[in-house]
Amino acid sequence: MNHQLLIHLRSVEGALVRTIGLVERRGYAPERVSAVPVGSHTTMLRLTVNAQRPIEKLIHQLRKLYDVQHVEITT
């Protein structure tokens, strides 16, 4: 099942790789990725993931990342 996530990241080195890497390590498949800067300190990451596992578990893991400021499921 596919889910779309909207994630706000600090615009710092490693934040994007760290976030996408976590998604894969936790057993979810990123299918679409787009990232754009919003202002000078934040990156907005839109992520479509294919999930065999409950998406809420991934949300909990993402919220623990230091660089992640905000996560929401958009669909």
Binding site: E13, G14, R25, E56, K57, H60, K64, Y66
Partner: protein, 565 residues
């Protein structure tokens, strides 16, 4: 600039000096490491610093020593290495700390920022390499960022669910001459107050007829041992612990059923399987604890108290959860409950289970019987000593048969299962608690994984006592091969081991051998009363297995008990 810095401006100093000043501001008194080219400026600054640096003989040893220090003291462990192989050698130690939630800060040298990404000498992408095994990591490109990065590294390492944080320091950043604001001295955070509605938990507890407390390493790490004991006493609920939870109750406490799981005690697993409510405190339903998940505590509802929200429902759904600091949560529960639950029949049943499964320490042979020997060793050491062990059969025998009185007295690699953990962890513990008796119980396989740290022991003359339980094989793997792989002993024979006594002697460490059980008391006496470091080489039965044993794929009601127990 981060808000985590003070307003005091100081004279210009090097980035390396700023790093050391930050360590001192965080209250660091000892760090473990190994120098090299890319971390040279920090080592140069260290030369005129009063920080105590312990030179380990391998970066993995340094990382595991920092881990042992952190577990034994409750403080943040610090380790340091150079770029490239120095950093890659830290990785196992970082993963070890990550899986067991140990607060650590690792500092690594890095090639200068101008040549990052050019495959420079001893360049490796430390940040990318360590991402999956740290709570967070930083690559510092500007020396002016050092004060807030260092302060954040320590804050992240110790906050919430603790873990390791790595700070990668390019050489030019260490050398830069900067005028920076010094970080504020570390202060302990204000204790948090519980904001969750406690009533659903109270209701669940009061409804239960057969509750069991299943407590893990999180209780000790939350500094909540005293309030945990108060909770057990107040409610009178029978208690099991994980490997990392050993010592939360004294070993002879009437409500302590011991460790649960794959090599858990029968009374612990049977109580959990029969329970109607599991009160899960600072634990995470690890697969070595649950066995086949669908059959774990099949009749129990779950009350999960946990600081990390991602652990609630990760493996087993909770009927009620409290996400927050364990100390205030248990205090509130105690306050609301006030008196023991009305579960006299259940308590009586658990007592009977304990009585039915007392251990027979007198097997019919003259060889050293590891469970009996370890029980004697632990009794001779006393309740305040620290035991650091490695991984394998001896690790489970330590967990089952040594009397652990506080969680910080039992250092064991739980999540990662790192062979070679014990000796460096014991070194870290001894440095953190110089007056404590510290014993490393190892196996012949594990001991060889970080044997070079004998040189560290000798260099600092640390009075760590080492026991090598030698069965001339990789015992735990051999056990699986015997039981599940038709005795095809693929690459587990270690009968060509070196003479461990002579190895110790070569490092200038006193040693002795124990071959027969009638020499046990004398050998333990020799070991514990020898001044400085000492090693006791103990020959144990190569055929001995660890019992009970829940075979893989089964639930905890299936416990193989062997013939020798």
């Amino acid at each position: 600039m981060s808000p985590n810095t003070a307003r005091r401006l100081v004279a210009p100093s090097s980035g390396a000096q700023v790093v050391l000043d930050a360590l001192k501001a965080e209250g660091v008194d000892v760090l473990f490491g190994y120098p090299g080219g890319a971390i040279l400026p920090v080592y140069d600054a260290l030369h005129s610093s009063d920080l105590r640096h312990i030179l380990c003989r391998h970066e993995q040893g340094a990382a595991l020593a920092a881990d042992g220090y952190a577990r034994a003291t409750g403080r943040v462990g610090v380790c340091m290495a150079t770029s490239g192989p120095g950093a890659t050698n830290l990785v196992t130690g970082l993963a070890n700390a990550m899986l067991d939630s140990i607060p650590m800060v690792a500092l690594t040298g890095q090639v200068p920022t101008q040549v990052l990404g050019t495959d420079a000498f001893q360049e490796v992408d430390t940040m990318g390499l360590t991402m999956p095994v740290v709570k967070h990591n930083f690559l510092v490109r500007e020396a002016t960022d050092l004060p807030w990065v260092m302060a954040e590294a320590f804050r992240i390492a110790r906050s919430g669910r603790p873990g390791p944080v790595l700070v990668d320091l390019p050489k030019d950043v260490q050398l830069a001459n900067v005028r920076v604001q010094q970080p504020k001295p570390h202060t302990n955070p204000e204790p948090t107050r519980l904001v969750t509605d406690i009533h659903p938990s109270i209701q669940l507890l009061k409804m239960s007829k057969r509750p069991v407390i299943y407590a893990g390493g999180g209780v000790g790490m939350a500094d909540a041992v005293d309030v945990f004991r108060k909770f057990v006493e107040t409610t009178g609920i029978p208690t099991v612990t994980t490997l990392k939870g050993l010592g939360l109750l004294p070993p002879n406490h009437p409500l302590n059923l011991g460790m649960l799981g794959m090599h858990g005690l029968e009374q612990a697993n049977k109580a959990v399987q029969a329970s109607d409510l599991l009160i899960v405190l600072g634990a995470r339903f690890d697969d070595r604890v649950t066995g086949k998940l669908s059959g774990f505590a099949p009749h129990a509802r779950v009350l999960h108290v946990e600081i990390d929200p991602s652990e609630v429902g990760k493996v087993r759904a909770a009927d009620v959860s409290i996400v927050g600091d364990l100390g205030p949560a248990l205090e509130t529960l105690c306050h609301q409950l006030e008196r023991p639950l009305q579960i006299a029949d259940w308590r009586e049943k658990c007592k009977r289970l304990q009585a039915e499964h007392t251990w027979d320490y007198e097997p019919p042979h003259e060889k050293v019987y590891a469970p009996r020997f370890l029980k004697m060793l632990s009794a001779a050491q006393g309740p305040h000593g620290v035991i650091a062990c490695d991984v394998g059969q001896h690790q489970m025998w330590v967990a089952q048969h040594c009397g652990i009185h506080r969680p910080e007295n039992h250092l064991s690699s739980g999540g990662l299962g790192t062979m070679g953990y014990g000796l460096p962890a014991a070194i870290g513990a001894q440095l953190g608690r110089p007056k404590a008796s510290v014993i490393n119980v190892s196996g012949d396989g594990s001991f060889m994984m970080n044997v070079q740290e004998l040189a560290t022991l000798k260099r600092y003359n640390l009075p760590v006592k080492i026991v090598v339980l030698d069965n001339s094989c990789l015992g735990m793997v051999r056990q699986w091969q015997e039981l599940f792989l038709e005795k095809r002993y693929s690459e587990t024979d270690l009968s060509d081991n070196p003479d461990f006594s002579k190895v110790a002697e070569a490092f200038g460490i006193a040693s002795s051998r124990l071959w027969r059980r009638d020499q046990e008391a004398e050998s333990i006496n020799w070991l514990l009363n020898t001044e400085g470091p000492a090693l006791l080489h103990v020959a144990v039965d190569p055929q001995a297995n660890v019992w009970p044993f829940v075979p893989p794929g089964h639930d905890n009601s299936t416990m193989m008990t062997g013939e020798s127990k």
